[in-house]
């Protein structure tokens, strides 16, 4: 418990680091601003007593000393200002200007600090997410991660830039107004201060209750929202079963419950505010009445009374705020931990002596095994050689481990046993980005990023021309399609753009891979959504453009694999058959069986 709190504080400190100076500046500006505002009642008090009234000027030492140092004759001031009231009003205006400038600076500094903080947090999170191993991503849900990157980041931001800063501001205001009050009349100041703990205690207790009610209300409102959501997504079911009435009843029941809870909350809130008004109102009244009595007794001047009442007004508001801020601060701790979960997870890291050996030569899998959890074996002792410049075909069913094998080569996962070498060098010793940059991989379900088609295809080669892009697209049989789009290669694709068909996406991914010109190419079932004729056309074009690259093709279609230099059949993480199309077709086994099943399709294709 203690440990986690300590690390939370540390984490927070790490996050705030870049924006600390803004917050410190903001607090300093606030202090100056408050101070210059607090002098105004003093000026008014002196005006009332000595300029308008006849009392000899009594000046507090913190004002008197600096003025005397400047050579001002304090005793002559009332007479001077009495003839020139405008000059006094200029003093007030000057103080106002001073406070205005610092208020502006304080607000701006707070906001700059807050924006810097949030930007730093987001940037750190994004970079971290890119670097975290894929296995980590597998274990975390997208929705939850996004919540952490958005809502929790906002919570942390509010905690620092609103609540923490508020506490400082409130404490400054309180300290200043209290000390001014004590300098005017200590007895009356004690009365004013006595109310402070009462107000804080009362508002904190009330807040806790309000929080509880609010939580209940919020939870049920979430349920109401979910009912509406389900009704909309399930509209076909509702209509087809004629259950509109049930739906309305369900919604209405929750709607009523929410209303009830909301009204219960409102009742408490109204009471809370009213009682707060009452307590601080009574305190103000007490100060007015007692102050009047003190003044009548001659214990303080009229001007001091007016100033005291002003200071009291500056005290009650921040005190009431404090209760709110304290209760809100308690929520931020969870958010800090949630953000911390992402930031403190272990990222992909190469050994410091990682090499950048040339990626050439045969690819060898030597006794490679892999398991996520140590129990279920996904890859089971695979031994395989892919000679340089040759084409390997892998045939396998769902869950046979063929994709995982490729992800091991790509260093997305690391083998639990055995090693993978390229040209005799273990890839585990090489830099991850180095290996990946030399393997062009088209995933089973390719992902396109929001942006134009051209940007997507040339994503690894920013300086590529449209002609380069088109050349790659032509090989992937995509160019003709794109010419049909109204905006051609400027068509926006991805989540916020036009939805491409599965086949178009796959072909875009192939074009994107071709732009990389890598010595090793992996096509993981990358033509599954393309019809058979186009599949054949793309394969022919690819064969011409591969050059001397080493190619691994994964598919469940025999036609895609049959021309490979070598074919392996995978099942349950193991290689069960190995050979060429000719040898495997002769052998008894799964390859021949599937060949037979797909014969009809092959015939149709060749027609």
């Amino acid at each position: 418990m203690n440990h986690s709190k300590e690390s939370r504080a540390k984490l927070l400190l790490r996050l705030v680091k870049g924006s600390m100076r803004f917050f410190v500046a903001s607090i300093l500006c606030m202090a100056i601003m408050s101070l210059s505002e607090m002098i105004v009642p003093q000026v008014i008090s002196m005006t009332v007593d000595s300029v308008i009234g006849e009392r000899p000027l009594e000046m507090q030492s913190y004002l008197r000393v600096p003025l005397e140092a400047l050579g001002v004759d304090i005793a002559a001031l009332p007479a001077y200002f009495s003839q020139r009231l405008w000059a006094l009003s200029l003093v007030v205006a000057g103080l106002a200007l001073l406070s205005a400038v610092f208020r502006y600076a304080a607000t701006l500094a707070t906001n700059k600090g807050s924006e810097t903080l949030v930007k730093n947090m987001r940037d750190k999170l994004f970079t971290q997410l890119q670097k975290l191993p894929f296995q980590w991503h597998n274990q975390n849900q997208t929705g939850d991660l996004i919540q952490r990157c958005t809502n929790d980041v906002d919570m942390v931001r509010n905690f620092v830039s609103m609540q923490l800063i508020s506490v400082f501001r409130i404490v400054i205001m309180m300290c200043l107004s209290i000390s001014f009050m004590f300098s005017l009349n200590a007895r009356l100041a004690w009365v004013a201060v006595a109310a402070v703990p009462i107000i804080i205690a009362y508002s904190t207790i009330f807040r806790l209750k309000i929080e509880k009610y609010f939580f209940e209300y919020d939870e049920n409102e979430g349920k109401l929202s979910a009912i509406a959501q389900e009704n909309l997504t399930g509209v076909r079911v509702v209509r087809a079963f004629g259950r509109e009435r049930t739906e309305i009843e369900k919604f209405e029941a929750m709607n009523q419950l929410c209303t009830k809870l909301s009204l219960r909350l409102s009742k408490l809130m109204s009471l809370f505010w009213a009682l707060g008004d009452l307590v601080s109102g009574l305190q103000v009244m007490l100060i007015l009445v007692l102050g009047t009595v003190f003044t009548v007794r001659g214990e303080m001047s009229t001007g001091n009374l007016i100033a005291f009442i002003s200071y009291n007004g500056m005290l009650t508001w921040p005190v009431r705020e404090l209760g709110r801020v304290i209760s809100e601060m308690s929520k931020a701790g969870v958010s800090i931990s949630r953000v911390g979960h992402i930031l403190s997870s272990q990222i992909e890291q190469d050994a410091p002596d990682a090499t950048e050996d040339p990626i050439q030569g045969d690819i060898k899998f030597e006794n490679v095994s892999f398991s996520y959890d140590g129990e279920n074996t996904i890859i089971d002792n695979v031994n395989l050689t892919v000679p340089q410049g040759k084409v390997l075909g892998i045939l396998g069913g769902t869950g046979s481990g063929k994709t995982t094998l490729m992800l091991l080569l790509e260093k997305i996962y690391a083998p639990t046993e055995g090693r993978i070498t390229i040209g005799g060098k273990d890839i585990a010793q090489m830099r991850t980005s180095w290996v990946r940059r030399h393997i062009g991989m088209v995933l089973q379900e390719p992902y396109l990023f929001t942006g134009t088609l051209q940007e997507n295809i040339s994503i690894t080669q920013p300086e590529a021309t449209l002609e380069n892009v088109r050349a790659a697209a032509r090989i992937a049989c995509l160019d003709d399609n794109v010419q049909g789009f109204a905006k051609g290669y400027d068509t926006i694709v991805g989540e916020r753009g036009v939805t491409l068909s599965g086949g178009q996406k796959q072909r875009s991914a192939i074009a994107r891979m071709l732009m990389q010109h890598t010595p090793i190419i992996v096509l993981d079932d990358s033509l599954s959504a393309v019809d058979a004729q186009t599949d054949a056309k793309i394969r022919a074009a690819l064969n011409r453009s591969f050059g001397d690259a080493t190619v691994i093709i994964i598919s469940h279609r025999i036609t895609t694999l049959m021309r490979a230099d070598k074919i392996v059949v995978m099942d349950s993480g193991r290689i069960v058959q190995e050979g060429t199309h000719e040898t495997l077709s002769q052998q008894e086994g799964i390859y021949r069986r599937i060949c037979g099943i797909q014969e009809a399709v092959r015939e149709e294709e060749t027609q």
Binding site: A100, V289, L443
Partner: protein
């Protein structure tokens, strides 16, 4: 996407309040009393400083504290009155806010249940959801709190000006000149900030979008080694965000500064002019102090009035969107004489309902989607005798659900008729049709709640025996027995706590309980484990027995057993006939079938291996 088209600020008459009248009317008296109490509270706020004036002018100046008890009691009474009034008006405001939002939500939801499918196809779930959830609560909050805030501050402002004018009109005028300047400045800043806030929100959603991409596309990013590029692009967006936010902060800071400076400016003017007047003996010191009070206190209300007005203007968008939903009318409605006889969705006259046999006929049907450009079906004729099965096949996105949509009367044909038992379906109520219809979706949809509640969706009056029998029939019983809590197990939102296969079996049982004459099945394409797959195939066969069935089919067994197969491509029906006929034709169906056959058998071969 929808955010974009709503960027223009709309101006409705009277801030759109007349359009909200139906929702406000039930609470009119509370609403009025809330406004009156709010105004009164504002006026009492004016009175409070006068106590200070009296104390200084009377007790201090005359050097007596005679009657200070009465003074204190009077003060306490006024304070109590103020507290009580503000407490009541606050509660009333929340009451009206909550109730208006509740009523709007209720009627909005009710209205949605009557809208036709074209509405749901044209608007995303998120968009519709926001109309009945967030718009309603925003409208409720604005018409109460902003209105009250505005009026309360307005009354304080008017009251303060009035009192100041009474005390010394010349001095008052010196202060009042500042008010319009502050008002104009507020309006300027508020307008700027509303615009900037919108840009900030847009950028913010871009950032969320990038996070989403960064997370879901992480595998691709890694394989392409474009982490740094992605990082740079992300930083561009966050930089942009920081820029606008700081820009907005400038305005916000300037705004606050101007308001507070204006307040102190007012003080300095009063101190100067008022000081002279007081020195001349024309005004008492207490009066001067209270004047200072008002002068300083009236600048913030100006800002609040402006902010309330700005909120009232921006909420127009929400009002307009909500009323647009309420104004949308269903384009599939039962005719008055049909409702007369069969009742409507909410008050069915079940006693007049004829039993359904299940003969279906599409007679000379032509159809075009309301937002489509061309006819997808033209002069289509098909007779399906009761108990027969029609399979609709074609590639994803080929438009296979069109016929089903017409049969379910989710849409009405542009020309021609759909007849059931020889009668146009428009001659009977939608509820009659839907009560005789069973529908199993490709992606089965369950509602949060227990398994039992979901099963009862098919038939609310089913006995436990009937439910168990239905589950046994489609082999859902074993699945349910495995669940923690059995029939009382929670299925989670949208049934998320169950696997697709489990959801499917439960939705089959739900359809069996409805015991429909017409059965519509949209087969799943996603692969499920072999055992469940077999269970589902058996369940499908059992469900089709003795019922007129339309299947959007993917499984060869289902397709082969159909009486008629319709092949759809590009939204149109291009081939029809029995399996043998279509195979012999060696057309579109033939190639579709051979590929499907190869894929299904390849899968089976792996599982056998």
């Amino acid at each position: 996407m929808n955010e974009q088209q709503n960027n223009t600020i709309h101006h409705l008459k009277w801030f759109g309040l007349p359009r909200l009248m139906p929702y406000l009317r039930p609470y009119l008296w509370i609403f009025v009393s809330m406004i009156i109490l709010g105004l009164l509270t504002g006026l009492v706020d004016i009175v409070m400083p006068l106590f200070q004036q009296y104390a200084i002018n009377h007790f201090v100046a005359e050097n007596t504290y005679n009657g200070i008890w009465i003074f204190a009691i009077a003060y306490a009474l006024v304070l109590a009155a103020q507290v009580i009034m503000s407490c009541i008006s606050c509660y009333q405001a929340s009451y009206v806010e909550t109730c208006v939002a509740r009523d709007m939500r209720r009627q909005g939801f009710h209205h949605l249940q009557t809208l036709s499918f074209s509405y749901f196809n044209q608007n995303s779930v998120g968009y519709i959801h926001a109309r009945i959830m967030s718009d309603t609560s925003r409208i409720g909050g604005t018409v109460t709190w902003d209105l009250m805030d505005g009026l309360w501050n307005m009354s304080y402002l008017v009251g303060a000006i009035f009192v100041m004018l009474r005390i010394n009109w010349k001095l008052a005028l010196c202060v009042i000149v500042i008010v319009p300047i502050v008002a104009l400045a507020s309006a300027y800043f508020q307008g700027k900030l509303v615009k900037l806030d919108r840009r900030i929100r847009e950028t913010n959603s871009q950032i969320t979008g990038k996070f989403n991409e960064g997370i879901t596309g992480v595998k691709t990013t890694k394989t392409l080694v474009i982490e740094e590029k992605m990082d740079a692009a992300f930083r561009d967006t966050t930089n942009h965000m920081k820029q606008i936010s700081v820009h907005a902060a400038h305005f916000r800071a300037l705004f606050q500064t101007v308001i507070s400076f204006a307040a102190y400016l007012a003080i300095s003017i009063v101190l100067w002019r008022g000081g002279i007047i007081t020195k001349e003996g024309l005004m008492l010191v207490g009066t001067l102090s209270v004047f200072l009070n008002y002068a300083q206190g009236m600048m913030n209300p100006v800002q609040w009035v402006v902010r309330a007005m700005s909120d009232m203007i921006t909420v127009q968008v929400n009002i307009e969107r909500f009323t647009a939903l309420m104004d949308t009318e269903s384009n599939v409605v039962d005719r008055p004489e049909v409702i007369e006889k069969y009742g409507d969705t909410f008050n069915p006259k079940v006693e007049n309902w004829e039993p359904m046999t299940g003969d279906v006929e599409f007679r000379d049907i032509s159809f075009q989607y309301p937002d489509g450009e061309e006819m997808v079906i033209e002069h289509f004729n098909l007779t399906v005798p009761a108990g027969n099965t029609v399979a609709i096949v074609g590639q994803t996105g080929a438009g296979k659900s069109t016929l089903v949509n017409l049969l379910c009367r989710f849409y009405e044909p542009t020309a021609g008729q759909v007849l059931i038992d020889g009668k146009d379906i428009r001659e009977r109520s939608q509820l009659w049709l839907h009560s005789n219809l069973g529908y199993v979706l490709q992606t089965p949809h369950l509602f949060s709640g227990t398994v039992l509640e979901n099963l009862r969706y098919g038939n609310p009056n089913a006995t436990m025996e009937q439910i168990e029998a239905a589950c046994r029939l489609v082999s859902a019983d074993k699945v349910i027995a495995r669940m923690d809590g059995g029939y009382n197990a929670q299925v989670g939102e949208g049934g998320d706590m169950l696997s697709t296969g489990e959801k499917q079996l439960i939705s089959f049982a739900r359809a069996v309980l409805a015991d429909p004459r017409l059965f519509v099945l949209d087969e799943a394409t996603s692969s499920i484990d072999t055992v469940t797959e077999q269970l589902i195939q058996d369940a499908t066969q059992k469900l089709m027995e003795g019922r007129t069935t339309f299947v959007v089919a993917h499984r060869l067994s289902t397709i082969r057993s159909a009486d008629v197969i319709l092949v759809v491509n590009g939204g149109k029906i291009i081939e029809r006939g029995s399996h043998e006929e279509l195979m012999a034709r060696k057309g579109h169906y033939y190639s579709l079938y051979t590929r499907q056959y190869a894929e299904e058998n390849t899968r089976a071969a792996w599982q056998g291996a």
